[in-house]
Symmetry: C2
Subunit: 235 residues, 2 copies
Amino acid sequence: MHYLYCVSRTQNIHVTVDAIVFGYSKEEGVMVVLIKRKYPPFEGDWAIPGGFVEETESLEHAVERELQEETGIQINYLEQLYTFGQPKRDPRKRIISVAYFGIVKTSEFKRLHADTDAVAAQWFNIKELPKLAFDHQELLDVAIERLRGKIVYQPVGFELLDKKFPFSDFENLYSTLLDRPIDRRNFKKKVMHLGILDKLEEKAKSTGSGRPGNLFQFNESRYKQLVSQGIHFEI
Amino acid sequence: MHYLYCVSRTQNIHVTVDAIVFGYSKEEGVMVVLIKRKYPPFEGDWAIPGGFVEETESLEHAVERELQEETGIQINYLEQLYTFGQPKRDPRKRIISVAYFGIVKTSEFKRLHADTDAVAAQWFNIKELPKLAFDHQELLDVAIERLRGKIVYQPVGFELLDKKFPFSDFENLYSTLLDRPIDRRNFKKKVMHLGILDKLEEKAKSTGSGRPGNLFQFNESRYKQLVSQGIHFEI
DNA sequence: TATATTTGTGTTCTTTTTACACAAATATAT
DNA sequence: ATATATTTGTGTAAAAAGAACACAAATATA
């Protein structure tokens, strides 16, 4: 095959995109959005949203379009995850699926949570998942692993939180995702020392009992500076 | 689009795999294999080896098959890199390319280096690359970034070296890839402390001037143990 | 006004990382 | 055979980063 890109062969392979979208709230933890299948195969099972790529659109565009159509979600962070292409992953025909990994912010998550049911989409806690169609459990496993891996060296955490948040939300997110307790003082010391969080003057509006704390905000330029220096965030 | 996987649409998109294969030798540094295009577009330019996926084979199989056909290479390490799918990346039709990242060992690299010319394939130092066809420079940039990123937390270095190697080869590889000097004593201390290298009794056969050193060997079980404990190799 | 809940903060000890120089073994040239 | 150049092998001390740890202040609620 020296004729790469030169032969004109008819290939009967179809390309889809799938999107594993995460949301987070302090109350519910890390959630992922799934849709209920209405037709066979796997009728009635839950699946990761996605669909066919159109010939003239980019892969990213396809993801955003499908998400919009199936779930009404507009994500604010998107990155390519992995491409799944085993021959028999769809029983009907050969499908190559380019999976993406998306995140919505807490406020958006809460808003969506209220009305995604209207479009047969639903949020599930990543620790309490239903049986999934196709090889979607595998996609989800890869995505969760990636999310977990990313937060320890890149502050993807910010994509999950709102623009302003109390420090405890940030800490809880890490503790939840890493599934282990975190020492509040050491964690704060480290994060503040990196300079990626700015402490605001505002206090959080009291959300229950306890002392109200300051709000914090992600310092994006500082973050970019650190990344350009090749610095990892081993939190 | 709730009909994911239910519509039977005709998609005129083609799927290819590409393989960015790296080799290393102390004398030549980090090398990558390219093939010379014999037909338009980009006739005469160099390109990354690859080709169309067949309907019944896995993506990995397609990569290995194409590599074998175009370059005669059998890699010993392969992982998926990224999927490139911009609409106009091939001027003729829509092509989604699943790029892979491969490595051959030094001995294999030297052997191939001698005869890959026979099949219009050639090794290039990653610092002295020719102009590439299509968006292949971008694929290569992503692959090099990945290679560089990987060696600092996973010992992919071993995939590039022979089974037995003098410590200086290992050190030079890291120094070359990271493009910065490495303190020999501290580096050795760290690596040996991790336990991923076993010191052999054999000495390297003298390869020029200087004191002959011991040979070392990758300790795979120790490595797996560390990985299962979630340990990263920040070398 | 007492109680429960959450936030905020500093020090000490341990571990890890960095900086740094000289002697031993070989090959080559004279 | 002797001198010279090249490469390997090794330890210590100072600095930085990480881990362990407890109590007072601010609010909501009973």
